[in-house]
Each structure stands twice: as C-alpha cells, then as structure tokens.
Amino acid sequence: MPPSKVDRTIAYQLISFIFTFMLIIFFVSIVVTRIMYSKVMLNIQLDNMRHLVHERVYLIDGILNKVESLSRTFQTLITDHDMKRAELLPLLQQTMRENPQIHSICVADNVFEDEQPLLIYMMRHRFIQRTIAGQDYQYQDWFQIPYISEKTYWTEPWIDTDGKGEMVISYAVPMYIEGDFNGIIRIDIELSYLHGLITDQTFFKKGSSFLVSTTGTLVAHPDMNLVMNQTLFSMAKEYDAPELARLGTAMIAGENDFIKIGDHSPFQNSWIYFQPLLSNGWSVGIAITQSVLMEEVNIILLIQTITAIFIFLAVAIVIYIRAMSVSRPIKKLAEAADHIGAGDFEAEIPRSETSHEIATLSHSFYMMQQSLKAYIQNLQITTNEKNKIRGDVIYASEIQTKLIPQNTEHPLGVKELRAYGILQPAGDIGGDLYDYFLIDEDHFCFVIADVLGKGIVAAMAMTMVSTLLPAIAPYRKSSKELLQELNNFLYKNNIESNFVTAILGVIDLKTGVLEYSNCGHVPLYIRAMDNSLVKYAETHATALGVFENLEIGSDAIQLHLGDEIILFTDGVTEAMNTDEEFLEIKGFEQILSHLPLRNPEYIAKGILRAVQEFARGSSHKDDITILIIDYKHPGIEIGLVAKDNTR
C-alpha cells in the first residue's frame, strides 16, 4: 500500500475543527451581544441625554424666570408705585450689578408723552445711560409685539444697535397705568451668554447641545456658522433631510422627544433629545452621534473579540502540544515499523506512557517484532535445510542424467540402428526412464519406463531399474523374463510400493525380430517407410512392482527396413493445455503426421516441441520421455538408406 498523501496532521485537524466551531460560537455571541447591548446602551444613553437636557432646561429657565420676575417687579414699581426714572435708576444699576447675565435694561415709559426710552448698559465696568432718539423703536419687535398683543414677550435674537450693538434676546413687559398703555420695560440678555450655557463642554462632552428659537432658528450651537444663519427647516431643505423639518416642527411645538437624524446634515447620524424651555418656548436639544452612542458597545465588542482571540490561541497551543505528544510516539512507531519492514528486526520500538492506546499500540508492535524475529529465525533454519536437500537433489539429478545413455549417431555403435532419446523431468529429478544396451552382439535391448509418482522416491526406483536391467540382461534374453525379474526385484525392494509401467523390447539384430512386453505402459508405435503407423496398444501385464511373480506375456514383431519404433511415456499423451484438455493418443498421432522427416533426433525433438507448444501456459507438469529407434535391416544396401537419410 503506498503511503497516504494526506499531509494534515492530527494537530492541524483538531485546531481547524475547534477553530471553526469557536468561530461560529464567537460570531453568534458577538451578534447577540451587539443586538442586546445596543438596545440596553441606547436606552441608558437616551436616559442620560434626557437628564442632561432636563438639567440644562432648569438652569436656563431659572435665569429667564429671574429676568421675567425682575421685569415684573420694575413694571410694578413704575405702574403701581409711580416710581420715576430717577428713583428707579439706582435699583436698575444694583440689579445689573447683582445679575451679570443682564446685558441691558430699557425703560420705555410714558411713550406717548414724548418721553424717549432710557437704555442702561455697562461698558468697561461703568454704567452708560442713554435715551433712544426718534420713533423708530416703536416698530421694533420688543416694543411693537407686546404693545399690540398686550402680553409679555420674549423676542427672537436681535442686534441692539442703540446699545452695544450685540445680539441679545429681550423680555418685554407692557405697562399700563389705569388701563392705558404707558410703555414697555425691557431686560436684555446677551445671546452669547446663553450660547455659553448651552455649548459648555463640561455640560455634555460626547455630543453637541443646541438651542432653537420659536422660529426654528439655531440660536446656540457649537458650530458658529450655523448660529442665527440656519433654521432647522432651512437645513432640512439644504441637506434634503426631512427628519430635520420634523425635529423643527416638534421643537417649536414645545414637545419633548427623541428623534434619529440621518447622515446628510450637520447632525450626521445622530440621536437628538429635545425639551422646551418653559419661559420663552425655545427648545434645548442634545445631539449625539450613533457611533459615540455605541462607543461603549463597541469597546465591549472589542474586548470580547480580543478575549476570543486569546482563548482561541491558548486552546490552539494546548491542543497543538497535546496532539504533538500523541502523534510523536505514533510517528516514532511508524519509523520503527519502517526499519522492521526494511529488515532491521533489532530496531527499537519506542515505549510511550502518554496514553493507554499508544502504550497498547507500542506493546503490540513489540510483540509483532518478537514474533517476526522468531519466524524469520525458523525460516532461516528451514531455508538452510532446504538448500542442503536441494543440493542433494541437484546432485541426484546429475547422477540420473548420467544413467541415461548419451545420444550418439548409432547407439552403442550398432550400425543397424539409430536412436535418440529425450528425458525431461518435471522437477529436478524425474521418475521416467529410458535405456538401451546390447545383451550380446546380436541382441539390442531397449526399455522405457514410468515410475508412478515424482521426486526422490520415483528417481530411486528409476535408478534401480536402470542399474538392474543391464545387470540381469545377459541371463534373461527375452523381454518377459527381464521384466518378470525386474517386477520381483521391485516388489521386494519397493518401500513406497511404487509401481512402474514399462515397455521393454529386444531387437534381434540378425533377424530384425522385435520381441517386446508392455507392462501397463502407453502404446508403442511403429512407423514404416511408407509412413503407415501401427499402434501396439496391447499390454502384457499390469504395472511392475505391485504383484509378486507377475505373469508377463510378450509379442514379436518383424521389423522392416526403415521402421521407426516410437516410444514415449504418459507425460506426452497426458500433456494438458490451458483448457485442461489432454493431448491424448489422437493428438500424438497428429503430431507424428506432421513430422515426415525420418530421423530419430528430428522426430524426438519435434514431438517434444509440439507437446510443449500444446501445454504452453498450463500449470500441469509431468515428466516427458521420448525414445525413437530407427531400424535398418542388415541386408539392405547401406547406400540406399544413406541416400534417403543423409545426416
């Protein structure tokens, strides 16, 4: 199995998984906090604004009320006590001294008796008194409105050109003596004084406070460009902010409320709380931008976020360290396993006590290493022994090979014959045998045998046969006698009860008579010069080595000039192809039909090649033995035969 290509470590996977999970939790937590805190903080801040505006309203109303009360006092002194200007003057001066917020006082009494109004104001710590010339004053708001409406009146801011030329607001009280209009008493407060009270930074640090007159005019605001130049309605139009017009309408209507103003105005994105002054109907407002309002929420969110990051980092580090302590022994185990895999069975298996699982895994690895070591030791012993046996077998095989006659042009120098034999064992050594030898000058004996089974035992049996037959042949000239002797020998000496099939033939070189016996062996073929093929399938006994004193028959065949005796073992006919079909006798005969040339070596090799071709790819293996003997009658002309069979 190839090594995994996954390069994500356990630590990486744990951290990324936990990070994702924590991220979701923190995100949800921040959103929830934001929503909930926003509402809470907004309410707290709005309450705070409300209290601040209350406080400022009471302060300014206190000042304006005092002015109102002083004005009424002077009005009473003039109208009810008939106090003249000369008597009134010290009182007015004392009042101005005690109330520095009073900018000037104007006494316009007896106006229809051609008395000019008297104006008192202070300049460089000295009181200035002057009368107002002409009649134009009667068309100014401070005079005309209370005169016509017969009510006290707080003016809009105006520039007192008769006095110091400052912008003031005035409280004007109409005076009546015995029901007839007598004139106006007026007390002025400098607008900048009120402006100072409103825009005082200690009053409200986080936002801007402002004062709006009854015409919606901004009479006090931190931005001096707006003061007296803008009304809430003109700003609504200029900045296309209709909410400012709504604010203006509510403020001049004397309402108190919160209003949210959008982005496009000097009150950009602000909450505004406003409340009217009870004295003159003006309205005090406080504006605080949404971002300032949410400052504390944002700080909480920032703290929360930083905490979250720290927690995440801490958790990540702890997980990383822990994951590494788990994965390190695993990594070492993997390295040890690699060493063992490479053949180093002495590699040290790391021991880890970090966790039960890792300790168990280490132990299992250790046990596996020990088992492998023992197994490999056994394997080495076995392999050594096997190698030794194999050496013996190879030696045996060499011996076996030497027992088989070497192929020569004329076997054993017999001019009448040509022979060629092939023995191809399935393993190192085989159980097949072929042999030929001269019993005497005139008798040529040949044998082909197949010992049932394979391996050493079969080879031993084969060796016995091949050594016994030449030894006994001089005394038993017939094939059946030779085989009977062999049978009895095998019966007596056959440890494994192996039996042997064999064809043994004796050719009388003088007469050309072949006497042969077939003991349970595959058929014998004789092919004549005209290519006619005769199969001799009859057996003369069962296989050898099974029954004692076996009765064995024989047959005699007169060989003719050029007859080929074709012998083989069942390894040829039982050769199996990949479809598990045997070659069989029929297939063998077909092979022979394709081998027309009359030469034992050519035919033997041709048969072997064809059988091997047939069995190619098949796992079935058996010993294959082929022996071809070509008989030439001694009476024929050598030249004729030689002419046909030139080698």
């Binding site: 068309y139 100014q140 708001d141 005309q144 409105i145 016509i148 015409t215 803008q230 200029e238 001049i252």
Partner: protein, 340 residues
C-alpha cells in the same frame, strides 16, 4: 392716451431690440460671460451705487456684474456704497454723494411729484412681488376673512398696492404699520401681513410654517401688477453721462443673466457679502430668493431691464388713485432709454 400709445409702442420695440442686441446669446453662451470679451482700454468711469437693503440675493445682478467684471468691461468702476433707506439715499443722490440708487417705481414717481428729480435707467423688477398672507389657523381662508382683522403693512415703501387692494375689496382692517420684521405675524400679533414673495414668504416657510397653513394673496395676479425696484439717477447725471448709464444698465442685466445661469456660484457670492456685512446668512433662503427673483426680473427674455409704458401708466394710475399727487411727467422723460 391712446394716440400716444402707437409711437410709444414703436419706441418700446426699438428699446427691446437694443436691449436684446446687448444681451445677444447671453443666456445660452455662458463662456462669453465668464470674463470680459472686450477690455475697455480708456479711463474707467466711477459710479457710486447704493442698494436699498442689506446684501441679499435680491441684488444678485449687481454683485455678479461686479464679480465677473461686466462693469469693468464697459469701462465702469462701480463702487457699492453703504446701504441707505430711500429718503437718505435720495438725499445722497441729490447731493451728488451717490450716482445710482435703488428705488421702487411708485416711490420714484412720488419723488418726482414736486419736481423732476430721478429718472429710471433700468427697470429690474417686472412684476409686483408683494403678497398678503394670513394663517388659516387664525381663520383666514379667503379675502373676505380679512375684514375686521389686524394687518401689518410696511410703514414706508411698497405699501400702495396693499392699500389699493384693501380699498378695492372694501376691507375694513386695523392697519398696523410695521418695519421689516415678520415676528408680529409669527407671534400672532397681527392676522395678515404684507411680505415680499422672494424674501419674507420664504422666511415664514423656513421658520416652520407650512405653505398649506397660509392663505396667500398675490397682488400682482389680482391686477396690482406694478413693478417695483429699478435703478435711478438724477436727470442731470443722465444728461451728462447717458452712455455710462446705458452701460451700467446693460452690465447689470448681464449680471442677472449670469446669476440665473449660475445659481450656486451666485448664492455663494451673496452669502460671502452677507457674512462680510455681519448679517444673518441663510443659504437656503438666498437660494429661494434667487429663484424667485428670476420670476420677477426675467418673466421672459424680452422683458429684462425695460420699463414698459403700460407698467408706467399703471403705476401712475395707482398713484393718482391712492394719493393726492399730480405728476405731470412723460414716460419718455421718466425713462429716457425709451427715446434712445
């Protein structure tokens, strides 16, 4: 009167052609107005001018003509003098301290009742800007509702058409003479007030009063279409410097054309002048004022700067009706451009 009408009409056409010639392409080719197209090379002629009120968009034409060099282009060195009310301005004109002043047509005619003292060199307004307004919340929903109520009327200046309206509609009202303040109205000290459509009307709207809350009478629409402000000089000055007077009028009209085609820039110039004069400067109000002035100054491009004879005659008629004054003065004498 009728036999005078035809030659007067001919003269009017000639004047129209003259003015149109002077203004050729001015409303469409702004680039020509951005700088002097012909630089006057001779000595510049000084003209001392005084407006009738503090700086505001009502005088945008003068400011922009000055700002853009249209006066200099005509060889004029215009000096804007301190604001003077009509009587003081007239005195200064007579004494020679001023050369050109702003006057309402009716006021100018009244000035000439005794002797011939001012001539019109440029009629800026082409319609009567006076409105009468009342709060619906105070029960003013029609003209007849005016009866028995208090009305604030300017104690000086453009009040004749208001009085004529009250007389014609037989409305008995308590007249409260006022200066310029609208506080009497906002404080409900009066029920109806006369105001200028370009100024106080918008002041009211910008102090939180809604249009639908007001009942408005447009005197011009009711036939009291006597145009008000124009530029005036003494007959002597005119006789001595007719060309300079024409150039002053022409450059002022150029200034108005420029102002109407460059609203934002003009409002900025006006606001700057207001700030320098240390008076309240409300951008929105000045914007609205300039838009209203366009309706008054430039009802159609053929009417700018001209005192039409029918307007002159209508003003005289109103004056005769509302006062004892007898003015023996020809249109051509009062408005000498007519004969040029």
């Amino acid at each position: 009167m009728k036999n005078k009408l035809f030659p007067a009409l001919g003269v009017l056409i000639l004047i129209s052609l003259f003015v149109l010639g002077a203004c050729k392409g001015r409303d469409s080719e702004d680039s020509e107005l951005n700088g002097p197209s012909e630089v006057y090379t001779g000595d510049s002629f000084e003209i001392r001018y005084c407006s009738k009120w503090h700086p505001q968009a009502q005088f945008s034409g003068i400011y922009m003509a000055l700002e853009k060099g249209f006066y200099a282009q005509h060889g004029l060195d215009v000096k804007i003098q301190k604001v003077l009310q009509s009587d003081a301005a007239l005195d200064s004109l007579e004494s020679g301290a001023l050369d050109v002043i702003h006057l309402d047509l009716l006021a100018a005619l009244q000035v000439n009742a005794d002797s011939f003292r001012v001539v019109n060199i440029c009629q800026i307004a082409q319609r009567n800007p006076v409105l009468l307004v009342g709060k619906r919340s105070r029960g003013i929903n029609s003209i007849s509702d005016f009866a028995g109520k208090k009305i604030g009327v300017w104690r000086t200046g453009s009040n004749l058409s208001t009085y004529a309206f009250l007389e014609d509609h037989d409305l008995s009202m308590e007249i409260i003479p006022i200066d310029w303040s609208i506080s009497l109205f906002t404080e409900d000290a009066v029920d109806v007030i006369n105001i200028m459509c370009y100024n106080e009307y918008h002041q009211l709207l910008l102090s939180g009063i809604k249009e639908e809350d007001l009942f408005v009478v447009d005197l011009n629409a009711l036939g009291y279409s006597v145009p008000d402000e124009g530029l005036y000089v003494t007959p002597e000055f005119y006789k001595a410097h007719p060309e300079e007077c024409q150039n002053f009028a022409s450059a002022t009209i150029d200034g108005w054309f420029y102002a109407f085609s460059h609203i934002q820039e003009t409002v900025s110039v006006v606001l700057e002048r207001m700030r320098k004069a240390n008076i309240k400067a409300n951008k929105t109000l000045q914007h609205e004022m300039l838009n209203e002035m366009k309706k008054i100054v430039l009802p159609s491009t053929s009417e700018i700067g001209i005192l039409k004879e029918e307007d002159y005659l209508r003003a005289l008629e109103l004056l005769y009706k509302m006062s004892e004054l007898q003015i023996e003065m020809k249109y051509e004498d009062f408005y000498p451009h007519a004969t040029e």
